[in-house]
């Protein structure tokens, strides 16, 4: 099983185009969105400026994009090509496959998060109060992305062929917007805010926002993400073993 995890990581790193795009895309988006915002403007009742807020949002959004899109499409493709059928003829347990896919996704997200931070510091002059916040932000956003990597695996198993991309897109935009990764949920009407509160993306963004403000992440956010992780990874492993359709 370890060989599979190592091999999945290795071949992700070999895929230069994929690496290049997913690592640089969040930073490009960050510059586009936060480009005109001034560091002096603060939002609502916080002392956070737009460039800081967007830095965390885009790092989270970028990580989410990489793992969700990357995993679902690659898995759907592997199923179509029959590699997953071949793997199912080995003694590999379902969790082994899911673990390997999540591990290879995590390899891509770490550099993409760090590049967004570097761009924010160098181009937008973003500063945080304490050094631990940088480390905590990196770890929280990285760890949180695992939840969506598992969701990506599950989607790759539910959808096939041409349906994968639109389905992933809908889930991806829905989750991003509802979770407040693009705009603060405070601007939503109340009923939508109530829904947003339970979104995994909202909890994910919440991790980073709490750290930005110098606080520890909320227990509710962590618990919610843990529940979603178990749910998504469980569904992915079950679908891997269950997949009796033409793969």
């Amino acid at each position: 099983m370890n060989t599979l995890v190592k091999l999945e990581i290795k071949r992700t790193l070999r895929n230069k185009k994929f690496m290049f795009f997913t690592v640089l895309y969040p930073s490009a988006l960050y510059l586009l969105i936060a480009g005109g915002a001034k560091t002096s403007e603060t939002i609502g009742d916080t002392h956070l400026s737009l460039p800081v807020l967007f830095m965390v949002s885009m790092a989270s959004f970028g990580a989410l994009t990489a793992v969700l899109m990357g995993n679902s499409e690659r898995i759907a493709k592997e199923r179509e090509k029959g590699w997953v059928r071949q793997l199912r003829l080995t003694s590999l347990p379902g969790r082994g496959y899911v673990a390997a896919k999540i591990a290879s996704a995590a390899v891509v997200t770490l550099p993409s998060i760090i590049v967004v931070f570097l761009v924010a510091v160098m181009v937008k002059g973003v500063r945080l109060d304490a050094a631990w916040q940088w480390i905590a932000l990196t770890v929280a956003i990285w760890a949180g992305s695992i939840v969506f990597a598992a969701l990506g695996v599950a989607i790759g198993y539910l959808a096939t062929g041409d349906a994968v991309r639109p389905i992933t897109m809908i889930i991806y935009f829905g989750l991003s917007v509802l979770g407040g990764l693009w705009m603060p949920t405070a601007t939503f009407p109340q009923w939508l805010q109530n829904i947003a509160d339970w979104m995994p993306t909202h909890a994910y963004a919440g991790l980073g926002q709490a750290i930005e403000l110098g606080n520890a992440p909320h227990t509710k956010d962590i618990a919610l993400l843990a529940v979603y992780l178990v749910l998504f990874a469980g569904a992915a492993a079950w679908l891997y073993r269950k997949d009796t359709r033409k793969a």
């Binding site: 060989t3 599979l4 290795k10 179509e80 090509k81 029959g82 003829l89 009796t244």
Partner: protein, 319 residues
């Protein structure tokens, strides 16, 4: 004898030891398509068995059921006395699928090592590559291989450990003649080591040359089960071709004795018969005067066509 005699369904032959594979009245449908119907057969240790049938006969479905990639709607599938999944987890089954894709962006050596790592009783990876004849291409990327090379890599994956049952779905597709011969050579070694080999094919000469037992599938049913020679013999071993002048009454022709199949195209009549002498004698007895009369033996290919055509004709209303 009438056409019904062709539907020979042999029971398990060479029955030595506990069956390796046992299908008990297995049914499988996809929507309205009945892929496999009342499939009932057993494979025994050391047999080399060809699963023969036209496209859509249910060969791939049968192999999928055998490997636990799909579940039967009804009936039982047992491999080494357990479920297919359990037999696979125990490392008793190796399979080479027609549609079995390979992992991309990895080298041949890496994918073989992976297969060995996942097998509970694996051989060393270098040895597996040697046996499959892929040592020279070990450092090549898997997605840059030719069709035949890919097939050999799949063969390596299917033989990563001492599997007691080897399942091959159209294994020689994309191989040229030399590679094909080398492949069957390697396969014979497996069989001589006492392993059970089951392969699906539409190359009849392959079934004829390699298998010691042929199971003919048609529309999800076992039509015939026996040695290639037996199938040829029972399918209507002779082929009679002649031309007729004037009006051809197909119904009269169908009344001839010992027929397996009758086909009329224009002036030409083609008949398959179990006893060509009796058929030809009766032909003259009808007062007909056949011209350009030819009587020849059937290859397995014609035998196969005869069997499946007869079954199709009988099932007429079932289409």
């Amino acid at each position: 004898m009438t056409t019904s005699a062709i539907e020979l369904t042999g029971d398990g032959r060479h029955g030595t030891g506990a069956p390796v594979v046992s299908f008990g009245n297995v049914n499988k449908s996809y929507g309205s398509v009945h892929a496999v119907r009342e499939l009932d057969f057993q494979l025994f240790p050391g047999e080399t068995v060809a699963l023969l049938g036209p496209n859509g006969a249910g060969k791939s479905s049968t192999l999928d059921l055998l490997l636990g990639l799909r579940n039967a709607d009804s009936g039982t599938v047992e491999v080494f006395g357990t479920s297919p999944q359990q037999a696979i987890v125990r490392g008793k089954v190796g399979a080479m699928l027609q549609s079995g894709g390979l992992m991309e962006d990895v080298t041949v050596r890496e994918i073989v090592r992976l297969a060995c790592d996942l097998h509970p009783r694996a051989y060393p990876a270098e040895q597996v590559m040697e046996t499959a004849g892929i040592t020279e291409i070990a450092d090549r990327m898997v997605n840059k291989l030719s069709g035949g090379q890919e097939q050999r890599v799949r063969f390596a994956l299917a033989t990563a450990g001492p599997n007691e049952l080897i399942v091959l779905d159209e294994p020689t597709t994309g191989m040229d003649v030399t590679v094909r011969q080398a492949f069957w050579g390697a396969m014979r070694e497996q069989a001589q080591a006492g392993r059970t080999v089951l392969f699906a094919t539409h190359y009849l000469e392959e079934a004829d040359a390699i298998a010691d037992r042929v199971i003919v599938l048609h529309r999800g049913r076992v039509l015939a089960d026996g040695s290639a020679a037996e199938i040829k013999a029972k399918a209507g071993a002779r082929r009679i071709v002649f031309d007729l002048e004037g009006h051809i009454d197909e119904r009269t022709l169908r009344g001839l004795p010992c027929l397996a199949a009758v086909e009329v195209s224009g002036r030409t009549v083609r008949i398959q018969s179990h006893d060509a002498d009796a058929t030809v004698h009766a032909l003259y007895g009808l007062g007909l005067y056949p011209r350009n009369l030819e009587v020849a033996g059937l290859g397995l290919e014609q035998a196969f066509i005869a069997i499946t055509d007869a079954a199709t004709a009988e099932e007429g209303g079932d289409r």
